[in-house]
Every structure is written in C-alpha cells, then in structure tokens.
C-alpha cells in the first residue's frame, strides 16, 4: 500500500503544516493518516541557509546526530525545509512487522500463545487488562454519540497514583438535529482488537475460563459489558454479547464477576430471539457502555479486568435456545 503511494524518493515539504496539506491530497492522504509517527521519526532536517549545522550532522545526516542542542519538531521555523523520507518510513514499518512475525514463529515453538503449554493448561486466572501507565490506556478506544452528532463527552485518563483508569464524561441524551436520529446518549470504551504481524487480527482464547472478573468503582449507574468475537466475517461485524453491570457508587471498590453463560446475543443493538453462548476462543474485544438515558456526569474507575475459571459455576447457558420449548425461535 505504501509503495503505491510513494511518488518519488525524498519528497520535500517546505513547512511542517505542509504535512496537513498533503494529508488532504488524495494520493497521499491515507499514507499520512496511518503513518504520522513514522514520518516524524524519519524526518531529516536539512541545514539552514546560514550553514550553522555541525560537520558531523552533514556527513552522517542522521536524526541522532542532529538532536543535540536543537529545538523540538513542533518548533521548527517555517523557513527551514523538512525532508520526509517515505522509503525509510516504509522500511521501518516492514521491519517492525517482520520482527513481530519472527516473534510469533518463535513463540509457536514455545507453546500456544507464545507460552509453555503447561502454563496454559494449569492456569485458572488471567489478568487481561490492567491500568498502570498511559501505555495501558492506548489499548482502549473511547467513543460516544459525538460520532453521530450527539453532545455527550467521554474521556479516559489514569486515575490517582496510576493504579487505575478513570473513564468519565457527561452523558447528554439530546438527539442530533439531523432529521432522522430519534435517540441518542451513549458513551463507550472498547479494547482494541489485538493485532499480529502485518496488522492481522488476532483473538483471545478464553476457553480455559468461564467468568469475567472486573474490579471497578462506579457512580451507581448501570453499565453494559460487551464482548465482541471474531469480526473478520462481515456478517459477524455487528454481533455483540452483553450483560449488565450495576455499580454501587461510594468509596469502596466493587468486584464484579459475570459468567460467560450470562452474556446475551444482540445484532446491531437488537437482542435476538435466537440466543447462543459466545465462542470463548474467538474473543476480539471487551467494552463498557453507558446508555441509561440519564443526563449528567458519569465516571467509572477500573483497576483491572481479568478472567478466571469458577469450578462452582456449571451453567452452560442462561437463556433458552431450544426451538422445541420456545417456538418463536
């Protein structure tokens, strides 16, 4: 994809804001929107006309040599030329992908999911997500009805002492004035789908577990916990498995355990008559949604999200899925 968009070697842009102009360019837009960090990493500043750069910077031309005593990227004078090297960016990206692929291949020799088999067979608990740094926040996406023109606001940040994450905002149920949307008012945070080499979608294998464990502290509002399974097939992209989480509010942490058998199936937001349990070895993401039709601020503090095997829980599925008993199915 990057090769198709490469026009020539060493494309030059006179200004930093030229990147935004290029992003609007129909040929280069998709490259820039996907690779801003790569471009910044391969930016080579050319010497200013006054020739104040050191001889070392001239001969090596690497960013490392030129970073000493220089201003940051966002303070570059508009008169200076910025050289953006697509080749370098693409090569760096491909190298990273191959490194991940090598890691996956080597991990396969160790065992499933890159861990020894006895570990997988013997484990009864696993912490999937915990919030201890900003990097943990990057694994989550925050959405709200702003995408459809609503007025809710949602934010995610690290809470006090970097021991938990705080998802907060303001819910606004006023529908957008577009003439067709009648209801609005939701905020959600969803985990990113795990990716392998070359951005292949991967999924979590939770077949050794049967319960979701959440350590949260809410404001008394009812939340919905959503699980999405494999989204490769277009028919399954709107499938969702949900269950409710009623937060208590107050200063004490709440430990919520939701067995997998309790999650009900919905498609495009509508609960289906034909219910079935979700496939525990094809989990792609977990999310929290607030849509309780109450205007006002909200917050949800999350310590960690894990899964465990509860041997006392023997229920296979909580909802009726037999056509003989329920004739509507």
């Amino acid at each position: 994809m990057a090769l198709l968009h490469k026009l020539q070697n060493g494309i030059h842009f006179p200004k930093l804001c030229g990147i935004q102009d290029a992003a609007q360019c129909f040929l280069l837009g998709s490259v820039f929107t996907g690779y801003p960090s790569r471009l910044y990493s391969s930016i080579k500043k050319t010497e200013a006309a006054s020739g104040t750069s050191s001889p070392e910077g001239k001969t090596h031309g690497g960013l490392e040599k030129q970073t000493k005593g220089e201003v940051g990227v966002d303070l570059i004078s508009p008169k200076e030329k910025i050289e953006i090297n697509f080749d370098k960016a693409i090569r760096a990206e491909i190298k990273d992908h191959f490194k991940v692929l090598m890691k996956e291949l080597v991990g396969r020799w160790i065992g499933p999911e890159g861990r020894p088999l006895h570990e997988i067979l013997l484990e009864n608990t696993r912490v999937m997500w915990q919030f201890r740094s900003n990097e943990d926040l990057d694994k989550w996406l925050v959405t709200s009805d702003r995408t459809i023109g609503g007025r809710s606001k949602a934010f995610l940040k690290m809470a006090s002492n970097n021991q938990s994450a705080l998802f907060y905002g303001i819910l606004n149920t006023e529908p957008p004035h577009d003439g067709e949307t009648q209801r609005s008012g939701y905020c959600a945070m969803t985990s990113r789908i795990p990716r392998g080499a070359f951005e292949r979608k991967k999924c979590y294998d939770w077949s050794n577990f049967n319960t979701l464990y959440l350590r949260v502290r809410g404001d008394g509002r009812p939340w919905m916990v959503n699980i999405k399974t494999d989204t490769n097939l277009i028919h399954k992209s709107h499938h969702l498995y949900s269950y409710f989480m009623y937060t208590r509010g107050g200063p004490y942490w709440q430990e919520v355990k939701i067995p997998f058998s309790k999650f009900f199936f919905s498609n495009k937001g509508r609960i289906q008559d034909d219910q079935h349990p979700f496939l525990t070895d094809q989990i792609s993401s977990v999310g929290f949604t607030l849509a309780d039709k109450v205007n006002g601020p909200f917050y949800l503090e999350i310590d960690f999200i894990g899964v465990f095997h509860d041997p006392t829980h023997t229920e296979e599925f909580a909802y009726e899925d037999s056509k003989k008993i329920c004739g509507n199915l």
Partner: protein, 345 residues
C-alpha cells in the same frame, strides 16, 4: 433431529460412499462424493461454530468437486475415456490428485480440517475423519498407476510434517485428532503408487484407532486436555483405552499401529526411497510427542484439578459401550497378524 431425517442422512452417507467405491464411470463416482458431502452437512447442530464449520466444509468440498469435474471432463476430452481407471492424461491426473488432496485434507490443502473438526460434535467429527475418507481413497486406489509420484511425495511429506507440527500446540482434542488425520493421510498417500494395498491397510487400521478414540472421548464428552486430566475420576478404564489407542496411533510396537508404518517404510526402502522413508519416520515422532502428552494428562500423571467431588467411577456406567472393546482390540492387538496382511497384499 427427527429419526426419519437421521435415517435418511445415514443412508445417504452409506449410499454415497458405496456409489463411489463401486462405480466405474467418473460421473457416478463424482455423484457419490457429492452425496457424501451433502449428507453430512445437516448433521451439524445450529450454533455459530457448527454453522461456520459446515459452511467451510461445504465450500472446500465443493471446490474440490469442481476441480475434480474439470479433471474428468478434460480427461474425457483428451482421451475420450470416462472409465475411472483410464486417467491417462497428465494434466487431468494432476488436477485429480489436487482435488482428492483437498477432499482428504492433505497439506497444503489441510486448513479446513482442524477448523471443521473443532466446530462439529464428536460423533460427527468421527464420521468426518473416518467414513468420509473411504470414497476419495477408493478413487486414489483405482487411479494409482496414473498419478505423479513427485506430487504424491511432496503432498505426503508436507502432510506428515504439518500434521506433526500443527498438533504440537493444541489443547483441544478434536483439533489434535484432525492433525493426526492429516499426518496419517500423508502415510497413506506416500505408498499408494508403490503398493496401493498398503494404503487400504493403513486406512483400515487408522479408522479403527480413530473410531476407538472418538467413541471413548464421547463417553465422557471430553474435548480438552484439561478435562482429559480429570477422566481418571469418572472412568479409569477409559484412560487405559486412550493410552493403548494413542500409542497405537503413534506407531509403537507391539501395537497394531506399528504394522502399517513398518510395512510402508519397508516398501519405500525396497524402492530406494530411503530419504523419504527417513523423513516420514522422523515426522512420526512429532505426532508421538503430542500423543504422549495426552497419555500423560489422562493416565500416567495425576493432573492438577479442582475436582473435589466423589469418585464417580464407583457408580455403574449408564452408557452403552458396545463397539469400544471391539475396536480397542482391533487397534491394539493385531500386530501378530502381520504375516497374514503381507500375504494378502
């Protein structure tokens, strides 16, 4: 499912395979394979994983049938022959080999086998990995003289290696048996042109052992290694049966499973295929490794578990285990009959 529907589907499966085995014309053989494919699809239950498995199975088998029909018509166009044994055109023979490789799940066309086997119930998986192999193998047996040896060797070695390596990281038993099937198909394919009777012998013993495994696992509805670890509590004899059957599948003497591997290696060496024989023998060790892992989990070690219930094997069993003793004896105690099989071949 209604007993009438089950009867019709079972009869269709039986008739389809018999039609293919007994037919002389390519069209009737192809028809039998199609009947087989369509008869097994309604036996899958109506949950998303089974629906996906059935869809994948249908698509792969249809693709194989399409390639097969192309080979048949191309052969008829170039040689004016519709008989099964007259597949003399080179390109038709290659296309037919590839079509049968897809049908049998040989590498590199093996990707559907673990996914489909994992998605369907144990008994349907048993039919898929045993009965559904009969018809394509019968066709291979009949067209063996016209097959390209290089392609067969490549398919065979790739299958045994993929079957061995692919099964190493699995924790689901159905997927393990699927990879075992891929590897065993490799053993059958390597010898089909040199001594086709050994292919039939190998298939028969493989079917017996796989039948034993599936029926035994179905008794306690065990589908994962973790649940296999708790089987000693429910039924200790089942663990012994699993031990014997898996060692037989691994090809260890003095069990029956050693017989086809031994005869195949002997035949390969007699035909100066020493490197191939070495590779096949080494790749069998990969399979043996994960069989031993299952044996360790089920019978040789006390697997850690959270089961604190009473010893369930004290209770009288309520399920019928009619076939299991017979298939266990066949799959583990027939090695002394090897001279008989050599004579017959």
């Amino acid at each position: 499912m209604s007993p009438y529907v089950t009867t019709i589907l079972t009869l269709s499966l039986f008739i389809g395979t018999c039609l293919t085995i007994f037919s002389e014309h390519w069209f009737t053989a192809w028809m039998g394979l199609e009947i087989n494919t369509l008869a097994i699809i309604p036996t899958t239950p109506k949950n998303p994983r089974a629906t996906e498995a059935a869809t994948k199975y249908f698509l792969t088998q249809s693709t194989a049938s399409m390639v097969m029909m192309f080979a048949i018509i191309y052969n008829a166009w170039s040689t004016n022959q519709w008989t099964l044994m007259q597949l003399s055109d080179n390109w038709a023979s290659i296309a037919m080999t590839l079509a049968l490789a897809i049908k049998l799940g040989l590498a590199p066309f093996h990707f559907w086998v673990p996914e489909v086997t994992q998605g369907i119930p144990l008994l349907t998986g048993m039919i898929l990995l045993t009965w559904q192999k009969l018809a394509p193998t019968a066709i291979l047996f009949q067209i063996a003289p016209h097959l390209n040896m290089k392609i067969l060797i490549m398919l065979a070695i790739l299958s045994t290696l993929v079957g061995g390596w692919g099964g190493l990281n699995q924790t689901h038993l159905r997927k393990i048996l699927a990879y075992s099937s891929i590897a065993h198909m490799g053993w059958m394919i390597i010898i089909v042109q040199i001594n086709p009777t050994l292919t039939i012998l190998s298939l028969t013993i493989y079917i017996m052992a796989t039948l034993t495994m599936f029926l035994t696992l179905n008794l306690s509805n065990v589908t994962k290694i973790k649940s296999l670890g708790g089987l000693w509590n429910k039924s200790a004899t089942t663990t012994i049966i699993i031990l014997l059957t898996l060692l037989s599948l691994g090809g260890l003497p003095p069990l029956t499973g050693f017989m086809p591997k031994w005869l195949i290696l002997q035949e390969l060496i007699n035909n100066n295929n020493i490197m191939t024989a070495t590779l096949m023998a080494l790749s069998a060790l990969l399979n043996l490794f994960f069989y031993m892992r299952l044996i360790y989990a089920s019978s040789l070690t006390m697997f850690p578990s959270t089961n604190n219930s009473k010893m369930q094997w004290y209770d009288n069993p309520t399920q019928i285990t009619m076939l299991i003793p017979t298939t266990t004896v066949i799959s583990s105690l027939l090695l002394p009959l090897t001279p008989l099989f050599i004579t017959l071949s």
